[in-house]
Structures are given as structure tokens and as C-alpha cells.
Subunit: 233 residues, 2 copies
């Protein structure tokens, strides 16, 4: 029976693909790539484009309305899951590609849940990828954790009173999706005396990559969706 | 001036090396590989052995007494840092290879701190690797975090009263170095009703890989040093 591969393609630099990801992406007859908006090229797809041969590979580039919620989003996921299942039933392996790592805040996890519920008999093999967290720490040249240290990872969209405890208790705190919450979170970091031991990273592993240690320069700026803060306690 | 590359070689499977890691490891005249005991082959070195040509590459395979603490350990790190600096001063690039990811609980971070203190002028480039955390979640087929979920990563060696809070507050808790603490931690998971939503993974990405969902089968067993628990709240 055909297999679904969920493949992490890393943060953006095609050189950060693994050999295993390259091999499976080159071999699969069907490539499924999520994209955040109808008119945007899929970022995951752009990372692996050099491996694809569209004369023998089908590319399903479905729109995932990332900003939408509720039934409309659920229906979109369900439709993709159904398309993937149809290819599997025809005997075709499907490579579902995802930015970073498939197990860490990826779109794949929604599809995975649906496919598991619909068809527990289908084999899903997950190929890990370089996550944007590891790539960001590398780009900034900082440790995520050493020896007995504790690390917390959470979206920056939590309220300040929820973030405060975590920032005080953990040695390293990674705040994902920080773009819209930045000014508020920066205020909290200043309050806790953590602003000078923090680093902001956007679009890691892409030509637009930016690593900013002086967070005060970012206040009031329009920031990228693919950005995070790493805070050292 | 020559450069120090800190390169994550992933959890064990040579196919989980990145292209970038492969390229730099093949090119560097000096490879520095840590090993946990004098008589043990370096695990990181075994992952990249197929890339090496010892007729043109020097391999510094220094002993890191992982179980030791204090001045003796500090002296061992200092000696390796000095050897690396000597090669850089001779104009030779050094690839410091490390299992998993260099920024996440790696031996490299100790060396990095020493080299930064001794010689801030040397360029250190960090190449991220697949961490054992991402690889373990992939092997177990579970999510580390989705949407607004919060993730905590910490050594299992913390006392139960410290672990309890984290296990109750976070959606996913990754407990590293669980081998010696397993029986105690298992008792805590049972107390919190979390034992059936947890998974144990040892030696991920190696031929000895084992994924265990029924934790009760592990009680009283001698467990591997390279093992972790992923607990879903």
C-alpha cells in the first residue's frame, strides 16, 4: 500500500534539507504543498522546486486559509485530506511537504489528525526537518539550553500575565509568531529587565533573514509573520 | 581567517544530515568530535564517517568526561578549545561536530563559551541539525505543539515537585535524560493521570531505536542514556 510521507523541508535554505527529504521528494509521484493564500507561491514548494520534475510528478498546491477559523478552515483541511487519500488509494505515494519540522506548529498536524480519523490503515511516515527554532538559535549564535536548563516554547499571543510567569521561571523562552504582539511583549521584557538578553529573528534561512539584538529598534515597525523572539533568563 | 563550524549531525541516521553539514564536513581539514568515554567510539563521528578522508583530514577525537564535574571537566574543555584555536591560527577551518543540534544541550556549547571568552575575533558559524526532540516526535508520530499550544523542555532530573507544575501547565512536556529518573517520573505521571498520553523514545534514528507507548513495561529496566519522554497534557 502507498505511503504518506510528511516531510520537513527546513526553514528556507535548500541546503538545510536532509538527504532523506531530498530522496523521498524526488521519488514521490505526488507532492502536496500547503500555501497560506491563493495568490502566494507556496514557500515550502519554493524550497524544493529544484528537486521536482513536473513531467512525472503531480503537485497539489492547495490553499490553506491560515487566517481563517472554524468550519471554513475545517472544510479546507478535509478537502486536502480527501485528495491525499484518493492518491493513496490509487497506489501513489504522497509527499506532504512542510516548512521547518512537521511535528512543530505545522499545517500537516491538522491534516494528520483528519487522516488518522478517516483512515487509520494508511501508513504515515514523518521525516523530521530543521525547525525554525534551531535555525534561529544558530543564526543568532546563542544557546537554547545547556546542562540542567529549562526551555519553554509558546506563541507570543498569550496575555502578558500568562507570559510573565513563564519568562520568570524558564532559562530560555522562545516566543513564536511575535509580529503583531511585539510592542506589547517588548514592554513586558523591559519591565522584567530581559530586553537586553533577547534576540529577534525573522525569516531565518531565507535571503531576507534578519537577526536583531537591539529590540528597541523594532518598536512600532511592521514585522514579518515568520518571526520569533528568543529570551534568555 | 579560518572559521570554526559547529555542525549538528542529527540524531543518528546519516540520511538525516543536511546537505550543508555534508558539504562543510567534507571540505574542512580538521574535524573535532567529542566522545563521552575514552574507550567509546565517538557517536557523532560514526554518523559522518562515510564523508571523511583521513588521508587529507585530521580528526581530533577528544575525550569529554560527561559524567565528571567541576575543575576536571573544565580543564578538558579548555584543552579542546586550545587545540581548536591552534588549528584556526594555522589557517585551518575546523568542523566541530555534535549529535543533534549544536544549540540544544550539546557539548559544543561549553567549548563555544570558552572560545568566545578567549578569542572573540574568531568567527564561529553554527549549522543547525535535526534535534533528537524533533526526530523522536516524528518516530512516535505525535505532535510537539499545534496552534496556541505551549511546550516545555527540561531534564527529567528535576525533583517531582518541580516537574509537577510544568506537567500540569504545559500542553507538551519533553523530559530529557530520563534513563535514571524513569521509575520516579513514571510514578508522577500515574499520579497526574498522564501515563497513557506519554511516549518513551530511546536512541532515535539509530538501529537501536525503540518507541514505547506502554510505559509500565519499562519500570525497573536499565534504560539508555540517550532517551526521552514526551508527555501530552
Amino acid at each position: 500500500m502507498a505511503v504518506i510521507y510528511a516531510i520537513g523541508v527546513g526553514p528556507g535554505d535548500p541546503e538545510l534539507l536532509t538527504r532523506k527529504a531530498e530522496r523521498i521528494i524526488s521519488q514521490c509521484p505526488v507532492i502536496c504543498a500547503p500555501t497560506g493564500a491563493a495568490d502566494a507561491a507556496s514557500y515550502a514548494l519554493s524550497i524544493v522546486e529544484h528537486l521536482l520534475d513536473r513531467s512525472r510528478q503531480e503537485v497539489i498546491s492547495r490553499v490553506f486559509p491560515m487566517m481563517k477559523k472554524g468550519p471554513e478552515l475545517e472544510a479546507a483541511w478535509d478537502e486536502v485530506a480527501q485528495e491525499v487519500i484518493e492518491r493513496i488509494d490509487k497506489g501513489e505515494d504522497v509527499a506532504f511537504i512542510t516548512i521547518g519540522d512537521p511535528c512543530l506548529y505545522s499545517t500537516f498536524l491538522y491534516i494528520y489528525r483528519i487522516i488518522r480519523a478517516k483512515r487509520a490503515d494508511i501508513t504515515v511516515e514523518i521525516i523530521p526537518g530543521i525547525s525554525s527554532i534551531n535555525a534561529s538559535a544558530a543564526a543568532a549564535g546563542i544557546s537554547l539550553g545547556i546542562a540542567g536548563e529549562r526551555i519553554a516554547i509558546l506563541p507570543a499571543t498569550y496575555e502578558n500575565h500568562e507570559l510573565r510567569n513563564t519568562l520568570q521561571e524558564f532559562d530560555t523562552v522562545v516566543l513564536m509568531k511575535v509580529s503583531r504582539a511585539f510592542d506589547r511583549v517588548y514592554g513586558l521584557l523591559v519591565e522584567l529587565g530581559l530586553e537586553s538578553s533577547s534576540v529577534f529573528i525573522r525569516r531565518v534561512g531565507s535571503p531576507q533573514q534578519e537577526v536583531v539584538f537591539d529590540l528597541s529598534t523594532l518598536v512600532g515597525r511592521e514585522l514579518d509573520y515568520l518571526s520569533m523572539l528568543i529570551v534568555k533568563g
